[in-house]
C-alpha cells in the first residue's frame, strides 16, 4: 500500500488549518510556525515485565504550541499509535483551548502498548517510566497531561506520584484527570453535558426562543448525554426521543414519547454505561424504535452526543423539517456532506469545538485548583464553567454573524487568530 494515498490524520489536520489560514490571509511565517508542532519528543520507554524481562515500548510527547500558556493535552495507551495521529491531536488541543479562551497551549502523547496485555503492576511501571523520560518537559507550568484513550485516573495518579518524586515536591497541577481525593475537580462528570446546554441556552436566547417552548432528540445516554438531558429539561426543554444501546442486547435503539421523557425515569432504566433496557422502557409506555429513529424525530433540536459520523449523506433526509438547531455533543457527528445539506435547509450547527468544550475547561479548572491547593465546591465549578462557556459562545457567534461565517469556521478562525496573536506579542512572529 502506498503511504501517501492512505488517510493520514496529521495531513487532514494540516489541510483544515491551511483552509482557515487561507480564509484569514495568515502570513507565511505564522503558517510555518503553526502548521507543525513546536517540540516533539520521541521516547524509548523501557519497562520491566512481571516475568523479569525488559520490554522497550515507543512513546511520545508532542507539544504543538504553548504561546498562550502551558501546553495541555491527552496521554493515551494504544497499541498502534502513530506519530501522525499524535501530531494531529496535539494541534487540535491548541485550537480547543484557544476557542474556550483558556490560557493553555496544546500537546499530546502516549505510549504504544495495549494495557490488555499488561498486568496492573506493569501498567504502573509503564506510567512511571514514561514520566521519567518526559519529566523535564512536562510540569504544571510547562505541559499538563490529561487522560485520553485507555488512561484512567489511576494511571494519572501514578504519573503524578512519579513526577513529584522526581521534582521533590508536591505538584498536583502537573497532571489532570485525577480522582477527587487526589486533587481532581468536582463537577467533572457534569462538565461536558452541562456545558453543552449552557451553549444551547445562549443560542436560543439569541434567537429569542424560550427553552420551555423547544423539543429535542438526543443520541447517547452516557455521562455526557444524561447530564445534557438533565440540565436541558431543568431549564424547561422537552426531550422526545433518546437513542442508546439496548442494555440487554447491545443493539442500538431509540425510545420516545411525544410529551416528553423525564431524565429520572430513564436513569432507572439505564446502566452505568448509558445502555437502556428497551424491554422495560416499552413496559413503561415508551415507544421503542430502531437506533436511527432519533434523528427522524419531530423536534426542534438534535443533540448527537454519542459517536462520530452519525448524520451522513445516507440518512440526512430523514431529519425532520422542523429541526432548526444541531448541538454537537460528540466529536464530528456530522459528515461534511450532511452538514452542507442541512445548511441549505437553514439548520444551524453549533460545532463540537465549542459545544463540548466543557470537559477541557473543567480540566483547566482542575489544574488551577491544584495549583492553589484549594478546591471549589461543585456549584462554584459549574457557575465558573457557565461564565466561561457563555462568553466563548458569544465570541464565536458574534464573530460568525459579523463575518458571515459558519460557527464551525468562525470558531477555528478565532482560535488560530488568538494563538497567532500571542505568538506575535511574544516576538515569535
Amino acid at each position: 500500500m502506498s503511504e501517501s494515498s492512505a488517510f493520514n490524520p496529521f495531513e487532514a489536520a494540516q489541510a483544515q488549518f491551511d483552509r482557515i489560514a487561507d480564509l484569514m490571509g495568515l502570513e507565511a511565517n505564522a503558517r510555518r510556525l503553526l502548521r507543525s508542532p513546536a517540540h516533539e519528543h520521541h521516547l524509548a520507554v523501557p519497562v520491566r515485565l512481571d516475568s523479569g524481562e525488559i520490554e522497550v515500548f515507543s512513546g511520545f510527547r508532542i507539544q504543538h504550541n504553548d504561546a498562550r500558556g502551558p501546553a495541555w493535552g491527552g496521554v493515551r495507551f494504544h497499541p498502534q499509535e502513530t506519530v501522525d495521529t499524535v501530531r494531529a491531536l496535539a494541534m487540535g488541543a491548541t485550537w480547543k483551548t484557544a476557542v474556550a479562551d483558556i490560557p493553555l497551549g496544546g500537546s499530546m502523547g502516549g505510549v504504544v502498548c495495549d494495557p490488555h496485555d499488561l498486568s496492573p503492576a506493569e501498567q504502573e511501571r509503564v506510567c512511571r517510566s514514561w514520566v521519567r523520560r518526559v519529566a523535564r518537559t512536562i510540569g504544571p507550568m510547562r505541559d499538563v497531561p490529561s487522560p485520553d484513550i485507555m488512561a484512567s485516573s489511576q494511571h494519572m495518579t501514578w504519573m503524578l506520584d512519579e513526577y513529584e518524586a522526581i521534582v521533590g515536591e508536591h505538584a498536583p497541577g502537573a497532571v489532570t484527570g485525577k480522582s477527587i481525593g487526589a486533587g481532581g475537580s468536582k463537577g467533572r462528570a457534569e462538565a461536558t453535558g452541562y456545558g453543552m446546554v449552557y451553549v444551547l441556552r445562549e443560542a436560543l436566547r439569541e434567537r429569542g426562543i424560550e427553552p420551555g417552548a423547544t423539543t429535542a432528540s438526543l443520541q447517547g445516554f452516557g455521562l455526557v448525554g444524561r447530564h445534557a438531558m438533565d440540565l436541558y429539561t431543568t431549564i424547561g426543554g422537552t426531550v422526545r426521543c433518546v437513542a442508546a444501546l439496548d442494555s440487554a442486547t447491545g443493539r442500538p435503539i431509540s425510545v420516545s414519547r411525544r410529551d416528553g421523557i423525564a431524565v429520572a425515569e430513564l436513569l432507572e432504566l439505564s446502566d452505568r454505561l448509558g445502555g437502556i433496557d428497551g424491554g422495560r422502557a416499552a413496559e413503561r409506555g415508551l415507544v421503542l424504535d430502531d437506533g436511527e429513529a432519533w434523528l427522524a424525530a419531530d423536534v426542534d433540536i438534535l443533540i448527537p452526543a454519542a459517536l462520530e459520523h452519525q448524520i451522513t449523506e445516507a440518512n440526512v433526509d430523514r431529519v425532520s423539517s422542523r429541526v432548526r438547531l444541531i448541538l454537537e455533543g460528540a466529536n464530528a457527528p456530522l459528515s461534511e456532506a450532511a452538514e452542507e445539506r442541512l445548511a441549505g435547509r437553514g439548520v444551524d450547527v453549533i460545532p463540537d469545538l465549542l459545544a463540548n468544550a466543557g470537559g477541557v475547561i473543567c480540566s483547566y479548572f482542575e489544574q488551577v485548583q491544584s495549583g492553589m491547593n484549594y478546591y471549589w465546591t461543585q456549584s462554584e465549578v459549574l457557575s465558573k464553567l457557565d461564565l466561561k462557556l457563555t462568553s466563548a459562545y458569544l465570541d464565536v457567534s458574534r464573530f460568525a454573524k459579523a463575518k458571515g461565517l459558519s460557527q464551525r469556521d468562525a470558531a477555528m478562525v478565532l482560535a488560530v487568530d488568538r494563538v497567532a496573536d500571542l505568538c506575535r506579542q511574544r516576538g515569535w512572529l
Binding site: S5, P79, Q80, T85, D117, M150, S153, H309
Partner: protein
C-alpha cells in the same frame, strides 16, 4: 425391657440400652488395642467389661473358651439362659464367647436377650478372632526372626528350623509355600525343579500337547515330596539360605493378606463384608509394608475396580496415588451398605482421586495446602436398579431405544412417575441416617453415573444436579431428599443424555447411576445460603485474549455465589475470567470494561422459601450488605473513575457502586496461585488437561469436581486434514489457535486490508463498519465469517481496524483478524479484546492470521469470486472494493467453507468441502463431536414452509407473494434455526396485522413441534419479514433478496396459486 408408662419412656429406655452396648464395644476395642498384652490377660479383661453392656448386668456372666482354656467373669453353674458366638480365625472355629444370665428374666427377642445383644456378642467374637490372628502373626514373625538369628552362625542347616516351625504351626500354609517355591525355581530356570514338578504332579512334559482339544487328566498331588522339604533343599542349593528365608517370609505375609483380594474379587459379597475385610486388613497389616509390591498393587487395583472405576486409564493413575487406607473413609460414607456393591460412579471417583493426589502433594509442598472436599455420601450405582425393581418400572429401561421425540415427550411423565414411586426400605433408612448426620445444612444431590466423567464422554450437564435448601422438620427434609434422588434417577431416561449416548455409540452400555450427596459449601447470610465465590478452572487455556497468555497458564471462570453460573456459558451475564498462570493479565482493563463485563446476577439458596434462586447482585447487597462472606475480596468500589478495594466499614451498599470483580481475591490472597498449582499438579498426575469445579466459602477452598478437561460439543480439537488441494484452502493459521468446529460456512465477508488502508476519508472507514453491521443482519446467522484488517472494534484510531460494536458482528460464526506487515513490523492484533467476553459467551470463534509470517490467506480466491456486496447494499456500493462478500456455494461449486481449529497442534485451516462429506476427511469420528449435521432439519422446515404457503389465504391477508430465505432455503438449517420468510404484502396495515397474528399461531406451533423433535426451545420458529410494493420496486430491505443475483429468495406457491 422394663415396663414403661408411655412411648417416651420406652424410647428413652431403648436409647439407654444402645448407649450401654456401644460403651461395652468401646471398652473391648480399648483392651484389644493393647497389643503387647499377653492373650490370657486380654481375655481375662474382656470378660470383665462385657456384662455391663447387657440389659441385666447384675445377673450376667461372660465366658471365653479358647484352646482348652476358660476365662469367665466369675465361677457359676450353667443355666438355661445363654447367648453364644463362635470365635473364628481364618474360617476355623478356635473357641467361643458366651454370655449367661444366672437368674430368669422376662422374655425378649431371643429368650431373655435382645436382638441387639445378639449382634453385639457376634461383633465382639469377630473382633476377638481378628485379635487372635494378629497375635499369632506377630508371634510367628517374632519366632521366625529369632530362629533366623539363632541360626545365623550355623550356616549349613539354618533354614531347617524356621521351615519346620512353619510346618508344625500351619501345615496348609507350609504346603502352599512349598509349591510356590517349586514354581519359583522352575521359572528361575533350575533344571532339577522341572523333575520335582513332575514328581509332585505326576505330569509328563508334552503329554497334553498331543491333543489340545481333550481335557487334561486330573491327578492326585504327591504331598510327601513337599512335606519332606525337598523344594527348600533344592532352593537353598540354588538360591542360598538368605534368599530362601526372605522369600518364605514374604509369602507368609502375602498369604495372610490373601483374604482381601478374595473378598474384593467376589462380586456377590455385599459391601458390609468388604468393608469389614478392608478394616481387618488395615488392622492386621497397618500400611501393608511387609507385602510385596505386586500384592499391594493387586489389592489396590481390586479396590479401585470395586469402588471407583474399571476404566483402565483411570486405574493406571489411581493405583499410583491411592493407599488401601484411603478407601476406609470412602466405604464408610457409602449408604445402603447391607446390599450394595459400592460403585460410586465417575464424578465421585474423579473427585476422590483428585483429593488424594493433592493431599499427598501438599504433604511435601507447604504452598499447596490440603484441599477440602465437602462432606459427601454415596448411594452406590445399583441403587437405581433396586429402585426400578422395587416399583416394577422395568419398562423405562427400553426408553433409550425409542425415538428421541417420544423420549422427550415422555420424559416429564417419567419424572412424575419416579417422584411418585416408593424407595426400598433400605434407601429410606439410609436417607434417615444421612439426615441425622447432616442436620439442616443445604445439600446438593448430584448424579455420578458410570459413564460420567470418563475420558472422552464428559456428559457435562446431561444429568441432573439438584440443590436442596434442606430446611424444615426431618420428615420434610427427607421427603425432599428422596424426591431429588428420584429426579436424578429419572434424568438417566431424559432425552439429552440418551441423544448424547447415541451420538457416541454408548447407547447399549448398561448405564448405572450412583448418587453423590454433598453438603453445599457456603455460609448463611440473612435468609440466603451461598459461598463467597465458586467457579470452574481449566488447566489448559483455550481462550487467549493476549499473545502473552500460554495454553498452560490455564483459565478460571469465577462467579459470586453458587457456581452454576460459571459452569455454563450464559447469555445475559458474564463470569470473571482469570488466567491462573498470569493473574495480572485481565481481559478487562478499563473501568468501563470492568463494569460492563462484571457479573450482575448471583445464584443462591433461599432458606425461607426452600428454593434455588437467581438474584440481582445489587438487590442482594442492599439486603445483606457487607455481611456477604469475604466481601472485601469479592467486591470492589467504583468511585471517581477508580476501582478501589473496599473497607467494609466504610461501604454503604445503598449508595456505593459495587462491582464483583474479585480484585481482592486475585491480587491480595494466594487463592489464584493455589488453584494454578492444583491445576498443574492434577494435569501432570492424570496425564491429561483437567477441569475442576470449586467453591470458596470465604475461608477455605473446596474441590467439588475434577475430570479430564471436557469440551462442549463444538469446542473439541478438530483433526486438521493434510491433503487439501492448495486451491481449496482459504486460510491456514499456526498461532494462538483455539479449539473448535465452526458450522459449515456459506458466506465470507472480507474487508480487504489493503483497500481499507487506502481509504482517505474517515467517513468511508466508518461506513465500512456500518456496512458490516448491515451484512450481519442480512447474511445467514452463524453461517458467515468476517475477515478483516487489524483490530475489529477499534475505537481509537479507526485506521487500525473496522469500527464495529458487538451488535454489528453478533451473528458471525467467526472473527478473523489479519496482521499484515507494515514496514518492518507486524502490528498487534486485538485478540477480540473489545468484545472478548461477548465472543466467549456466544461461542463466536476468534482467529488471528499472520499471512506475511506463518499463515496463508488465499486472497486470489476472495478476489476472483463474484462480489455480492453491491447487490446486498446498493446504497454503499462505492465500498465494494473494500468489502467483499463471497457466496461460497457459488464460488466453490456448491461446496461450503469448513473451518477446523486445533489448539493442541496450534493449527487451523479453512477450506472448501462438500457439505455431506464426513468431517475430518474420512477420519474416524473424533471425540467430542456430534455426528455430522443431519439434513432432516432443513427438509422438515422446507416442508413446513411449503405447508404455510399452501394454507395462506392470499386475498384475505393481502399477500402478493411469499419467499423463503436463509438457512432453510440454503439447506444449512440446524436444530435451532429459524424459518425465514419474506412476505410481499399490499401495504394495508389492518390486513398485515391480521396476517401477523396468523403467522404467530404457526410460529408458536412449529416452535413446539421443533422442541419435541430436537429439544431446542426456541419459542416461536418463524422469522417473518414484510416488504411492500415500494420495497420491491426499490429493492430495499429484504426485497433485495427477491430475484437477487446470488442467494436469491425462493418463491413458495401460495394458497392454490401455482
Amino acid at each position: 425391657m422394663p415396663v414403661s408408662d408411655g412411648p417416651v419412656e420406652a424410647l428413652l429406655a431403648s436409647l439407654q440400652e444402645r448407649a450401654k452396648e456401644l460403651n461395652c464395644l468401646y471398652e473391648v476395642e480399648q483392651i484389644l488395642a493393647l497389643i503387647d498384652l499377653p492373650p490370657e490377660d486380654t481375655f481375662r479383661r474382656i470378660v470383665e467389661v462385657i456384662p455391663p453392656g447387657w440389659q441385666y448386668p447384675d445377673v450376667c456372666c461372660a465366658v471365653i473358651d479358647i484352646r482348652g482354656q476358660r476365662f469367665q467373669t466369675r465361677p457359676f453353674s450353667p443355666t438355661p439362659w445363654v447367648l453364644a458366638a463362635d470365635i473364628q480365625v481364618h474360617d476355623e472355629v478356635v473357641g467361643s464367647l458366651s454370655v449367661w444370665y444366672l437368674e430368669e428374666r422376662p422374655p425378649e427377642d431371643i429368650g431373655p436377650f435382645l436382638k441387639e445383644e445378639d449382634r453385639l456378642i457376634r461383633t465382639i467374637a469377630g473382633r476377638l478372632g481378628h485379635s487372635i490372628l494378629f497375635h499369632k502373626m506377630h508371634e510367628m514373625r517374632g519366632e521366625w526372626e529369632s530362629a533366623s538369628r539363632e541360626l545365623e552362625a550355623e550356616k549349613e542347616d539354618k533354614w531347617r528350623a524356621p521351615i519346620d516351625l512353619l510346618l508344625r504351626t500351619d501345615r496348609h500354609l507350609y504346603l502352599r509355600i512349598a509349591r510356590k517355591m517349586v514354581n519359583h525355581l522352575v521359572s528361575a530356570g533350575v533344571d532339577r525343579a522341572q523333575d520335582l514338578l513332575q514328581e509332585i504332579y505326576g505330569y509328563v512334559a508334552g503329554e497334553n500337547d498331543s491333543d489340545p482339544n481333550l481335557p487334561g487328566r486330573s491327578r492326585a498331588i504327591n504331598q510327601q515330596i513337599l512335606l519332606i522339604g525337598a523344594p527348600f533343599e533344592l532352593a537353598v542349593h540354588h538360591l542360598g539360605v538368605d534368599k530362601v528365608l526372605a522369600l518364605t517370609r514374604d509369602w507368609i505375609m502375602e498369604d495372610k493378606a490373601s483374604f482381601l483380594p478374595k473378598v474384593l474379587t467376589n462380586p456377590r459379597l455385599p459391601l458390609s463384608e468388604v468393608s469389614a475385610a478392608v478394616h481387618r486388613f488395615h488392622h492386621l497389616l497397618a500400611d501393608g509394608a511387609d507385602l510385596s509390591r505386586a500384592t499391594l498393587d493387586g489389592i489396590r487395583v481390586s479396590l479401585i475396580r470395586r469402588f471407583l472405576s474399571d476404566q483402565l486409564s483411570f486405574i493406571s493413575v489411581a493405583k499410583q496415588e491411592l493407599e488401601t487406607a484411603d478407601f476406609i473413609g470412602l466405604i464408610d460414607s457409602v449408604l445402603l451398605s447391607e446390599s450394595s456393591h459400592g460403585r460410586v460412579g465417575g464424578k465421585s471417583a474423579g473427585l476422590f482421586l483428585a483429593q488424594r493426589i493433592i493431599d499427598r502433594a501438599a504433604a511435601r509442598d507447604p504452598e499447596l495446602e490440603p484441599v477440602r472436599v465437602p462432606r459427601s455420601w454415596y448411594i452406590a450405582s445399583e441403587g437405581l436398579m433396586a429402585f426400578i425393581e422395587h416399583n416394577d418400572l422395568d419398562e423405562v429401561l427400553h426408553q433409550k431405544y425409542r425415538e428421541i421425540a417420544q423420549v422427550r415427550q415422555e420424559y416429564p411423565n417419567i419424572i412424575h412417575l419416579f417422584k411418585n414411586s416408593r424407595f426400598p426400605r433400605e434407601t429410606v433408612k439410609a436417607a434417615s441416617v444421612l439426615m441425622d448426620e447432616v442436620g439442616d445444612n443445604p445439600l446438593i444431590v448430584r448424579s455420578s453415573s458410570l459413564l460420567e466423567d470418563r475420558l472422552g464422554s464428559a456428559f457435562s450437564g446431561k444429568y441432573k444436579s439438584l440443590f436442596l435448601a434442606n430446611q424444615g422438620n426431618k420428615n420434610q427434609r427427607m421427603g425432599a431428599l428422596l424426591d431429588a434422588i428420584a429426579e436424578v434417577y429419572a434424568s438417566v431416561f431424559g432425552p439429552d443424555p440418551i441423544a448424547y449416548r447415541r451420538e457416541r455409540g454408548l447407547i447399549d452400555f448398561h448405564e448405572e447411576m450412583a448418587i453423590l450427596v454433598q453438603e453445599v459449601v457456603g455460609a448463611r447470610v440473612g435468609r440466603f445460603f451461598l459461598p463467597a465465590a465458586a467457579g470452574v478452572a481449566f488447566s489448559s487455556n483455550e481462550l487467549r485474549w493476549s499473545p502473552r497468555i500460554r495454553r498452560s497458564d490455564g483459565l478460571l471462570r469465577l462467579v459470586p455465589g453458587l457456581g452454576t453460573r460459571a459452569v455454563d456459558r450464559i447469555a445475559d451475564d458474564y463470569p470473571i475470567l482469570v488466567v491462573p498462570g498470569q493473574p495480572g493479565l485481565r481481559v478487562n482493563t478499563t473501568i468501563d470494561e470492568v463494569v460492563r463485563y462484571a457479573p450482575r446476577k448471583i445464584d443462591v439458596i433461599n432458606l425461607e422459601t426452600n428454593r434455588f434462586e437467581s438474584l440481582e447482585i445489587g438487590a442482594l447487597l442492599r439486603e445483606v450488605g457487607t455481611a456477604y462472606p469475604a466481601f472485601e475480596q469479592v467486591f470492589s468500589v467504583v468511585k471517581d473513575d477508580t476501582i478501589r478495594r473496599p473497607v467494609p466499614l466504610m461501604v454503604d451498599p445503598e449508595r456505593d457502586e459495587l462491582v464483583a470483580d474479585f480484585g481482592g481475591l486475585v491480587t491480595s490472597t494466594p487463592f489464584v496461585a493455589r488453584v494454578a498449582k492444583m491445576l498443574n499438579l492434577l494435569e501432570a498426575k492424570l496425564g491429561t488437561p483437567v477441569d475442576i469445579e470449586f467453591a470458596f466459602d470465604g475461608r477455605d477452598l473446596y474441590l467439588l469436581q475434577c475430570r479430564p478437561q471436557s469440551f462442549a460439543a463444538d469446542d473439541a480439537p478438530a483433526p486438521i486434514p493434510k491433503d487439501v488441494p492448495e486451491e481449496d484452502v482459504l486460510f491456514t493459521a499456526r498461532r494462538f489457535v483455539s479449539n473448535g468446529w465452526v458450522p459449515d460456512i456459506t458466506h465470507v465477508v472480507y474487508v480487504d486490508p489493503e483497500a481499507y488502508g487506502r481509504l482517505t476519508e474517515r467517513s468511508d472507514m466508518l461506513a465500512v463498519g456500518r456496512a458490516v453491521g448491515l451484512l450481519n443482519k442480512l447474511l445467514p446467522k452463524r453461517r458467515f465469517i468476517l475477515i478483516g484488517p487489524g483490530r475489529w472494534g477499534s475505537r481509537g484510531d479507526i485506521k487500525l481496524g473496522v469500527n464495529v460494536t458487538y451488535s454489528d458482528i453478533n451473528n458471525t460464526a467467526m472473527l478473523v483478524e489479519v496482521a499484515r506487515t507494515v514496514g518492518n513490523y507486524v502490528p498487534d492484533l486485538s485478540f477480540g479484546t473489545h468484545f472478548f467476553q461477548d465472543l466467549v459467551e456466544s461461542s463466536i470463534r476468534y482467529l488471528p492470521l499472520y499471512p506475511d509470517d506463518d499463515s496463508l490467506l488465499n486472497e486470489r480466491l476472495l478476489h476472483r469470486s463474484h462480489n455480492l456486496f453491491g447487490g446486498l447494499l446498493p446504497e454503499l456500493e462505492r465500498l465494494a472494493d473494500v468489502v467483499r462478500v463471497v457466496d461460497i456455494g457459488q464460488a466453490g461449486g456448491g461446496r461450503v467453507l469448513r473451518v477446523l481449529l486445533n489448539s493442541d497442534l496450534d493449527e487451523a485451516i479453512a477450506f472448501l468441502a462438500n457439505p455431506e462429506e464426513e468431517r475430518g476427511r474420512g477420519q474416524s469420528q473424533p471425540v467430542g463431536r456430534p455426528a455430522g449435521r443431519s439434513d432432516t432439519f432443513w427438509r422438515w422446515r422446507l416442508r413446513m414452509a411449503e405447508r404455510i404457503a399452501a394454507e395462506i389465504d392470499a386475498e384475505r391477508f393481502g399477500v402478493r407473494a411469499l419467499y423463503l430465505i436463509g438457512s432453510t432455503k440454503n439447506a444449512t438449517a440446524g436444530p435451532s434455526s429459524d424459518i425465514d420468510l419474506v412476505v410481499h404484502v399490499d401495504g394495508d396495515e389492518g390486513r398485515r396485522r391480521e396476517l401477523a397474528t396468523w403467522f404467530e399461531g404457526w410460529s408458536l406451533c412449529l416452535g413446539e413441534l421443533n422442541y419435541q423433535r430436537t429439544g431446542y426451545a426456541t419459542g416461536s420458529l418463524l422469522d417473518v419479514h414484510y416488504v411492500t410494493d415500494e420495497d420491491v420496486a426499490e429493492r430495499t430491505s429484504y426485497a433485495a433478496k427477491i430475484g437477487a443475483v446470488t442467494d436469491p429468495a425462493m418463491e413458495l406457491a401460495i394458497g392454490g396459486k401455482p
